[in-house]
């Protein structure tokens, strides 16, 4: 008994040393899937902070996961939406989406709505130069207007990542990064994920709902893990998938991601 109390006191001490005081820390961005949220040290993605999502170039699954997470944060109240306590910061919060010079695809506004983001509440910033994009992301995270930001197509050096993290903490914002596929990741992110698609095994030939294999590669305060998720379109939430048979081979082996 005393030992668990000591452990709890040690955990509190480490938490205080690691970041700002947890009393005024805003609620974290939860997945809505208890298995994942319990594994993560903050019951969700730490907010404020930066989180990276890697994936292949011709794979849109990480975009889907980021859109689903951002939709959970900024969605209006819907019936049947399961949320952990305090996972929604405020209704109708705007989203900032930065498209760096390496962002080549177009984003469809209607698909954003399918993931729960109102497209008219998104401010999109397309910067031709990487320096302008980094400046825009930093200023947008510092100004406390956007609780969630998406940075796409930016390759960050450790110094730039540290600056964005400080700006996010100053503005109490969460930054979800979608780096270019073959970029070197900086060590400043709170969590690092790799997202890939999973095939669907069903009776009929329809392609079904999106299924993703998400691997938590690195987590500050926790260990790596793997989950298979499915996105439910009607209820707009993420569910854990029971069977993980049919895991795909990695298309491009990246040893440094492990």
């Amino acid at each position: 008994m005393a030992r668990s109390e000591d452990l709890q006191a040690l955990r509190e001490c480490i938490k205080r040393l690691e970041g700002p005081a947890s009393a005024d820390r805003p609620p974290s961005l939860a997945f809505g899937v208890p298995a994942i949220d319990n594994h993560l040290p903050d019951e969700g993605l730490r907010a404020p902070g930066i989180h990276e999502f890697f994936g292949d170039e011709c794979d849109a699954s990480r975009f889907g996961l980021v859109a689903a997470l951002a939709g959970r944060w900024s969605c209006i109240d819907r019936d049947g939406m399961e949320t952990t306590a305090g996972s929604r910061l405020e209704d109708d919060a705007p989203v900032f989406w930065l498209r760096g010079p390496a962002a080549t695809w177009l984003i469809d506004a209607q698909a954003l709505w399918q993931f729960g983001i109102s497209p008219q509440r998104v401010l999109v910033s397309q910067c031709g130069r990487e320096a302008d994009g980094l400046w825009a992301l930093e200023e947008a995270s510092r100004c406390s207007v956007f609780p969630i930001l998406v940075g796409e197509g930016l390759a960050l050096t450790p110094l730039q990542a540290r600056r964005i993290q400080l700006a996010a903490e100053a503005g109490r914002a969460t930054v979800l990064l979608l780096p270019p596929p073959l970029s070197q990741p900086p060590p400043a992110a709170a969590t690092r994920w790799r997202v890939s698609s999973l095939p669907v095994h069903r009776g009929d030939a329809s392609i079904g709902s999106p299924r993703w294999l998400i691997e938590l590669l690195r987590c500050r305060g926790g260990g790596p893990a793997t989950w298979a998720l499915e996105w439910d379109d009607e209820q707009r939430r993420l569910d854990l998938v029971a069977d993980v048979a049919g895991r795909p081979l990695a298309a491009t082996p990246c040893s440094w991601l492990a």
């Binding site: 011709c58 506004a109 008219q120 397309q126 031709g128 030939a205 329809s206 392609i207 379109d233």
Partner: protein, 446 residues
Amino acid sequence: MPGLTVAEAKALVPGLIVGDADPDGDAAGLQSLAAWCQRWTPRVALDGDDGLLLDIAGCGHLFGGDGALIAEVERRLIKAGIEVRLGAAATPAAAWAWTRYRPSGAVPVLVAAEHAEAHLGRLPVAGLRVPPDLVQALARVGLRTVGDLQRLPRAALARRFGPTLIERLDRLLGQAADPITPSGPPSRWAARLALAEPISRKEDFERAIGCLLAELVTSLGAGGLGARSLVLTLFRVDASTQILSVGTAQASRDARHLHRLFAERYEKINPGYGVETLILEATATERLDPAQLTAGRGSQRPSMAEIVDRLRARAGHTAALRFATVETHVPERATRLRASEGEMPAAGAPDWLESEMRPLLLLSPPEPIVTDRNDASVPDTFYWRGRCHHVMRSDGPERIRSEWWRDGQSAVRDYFRIQDQQGRRYWVFRRQGTARDGWFIHGLFA
């Protein structure tokens, strides 16, 4: 003397330097000089192709009197290396005539009214800007100066020489209106700062812009307006100007916010040898009620409009865009990005929604794929970007026709949602009805 050839001119003057005439360059130089002369008065007009008319009514008090202003103008122009003949009078026509035709030794400034008529009376008739043949006709009759014309009855002159002569005479003496058209409309909301020493450091520009903004914001507040567009003109010592402009998405009277917008432009300032006058104008203004201003300032929270303005000031208009859904079935036209203006609407469904699912990422333009079959059904394998994909599952077809009223042709696309062996989901279509039919990939589902 016009009409001489180069050889004759060189024979007359042995050491003559000959250069090519550059009328465009001269005109441009005159324009920039006119812009530079706006540091003294906003009403500057071009006069022919080698002169400037400055209306200094009401500007003299800033410089210690009209006489001091004129002396200052002459001194600065000579210091900038421009050869100038200066003349000042009560009307534009009189000023023109006095500058060009005054007797040598006369004082250039002719503003006092009592002696003005006497001096003007001694000017030759050519000072009235009448055609040369009329000057010759008057000379034949013995009328050589303006004073001679004044002594004759007006009706007789008009009958003999035409009405323009009388009109020019009236303009000279100030009895008829003689409007000048300044090169740009004067701005009502402007603040001006003249410095004793020219500045070139960034910190000095910061303070100068801060002073100008404070003054402009006060006057805008008194008028109940907010600025939408600001233009800062820097007047350098070498008779050139630089213009910086800044725009906002919503009318603003917040000096701190506007100063931050200019802060993004500091590296674009080229001070040259120094900047000695700055003029800040609000070229576009809108009504801004005081209630809105205090609501924003009271809560101390930065607003969306401020970050949009700052993004635009630094990185151009593509730095702040919003989605706009267009009412069309063609997928690549359904979503557009437009500049963010005004408030963001409340959250909710977009205006235009298709009933079918759409992929999150779209490829524009769609890329062709190589399939094993070229008929209407879904292929089993396709090649795209150098990789082979086996189709495991598919949904569809969804038929989308092109907009014949826009494209002029009626092509048909049959869309399929397909999933390959790795679980990735693609949006492909088969196009018919155009010159290049076949299978294409249009997007990726998440």
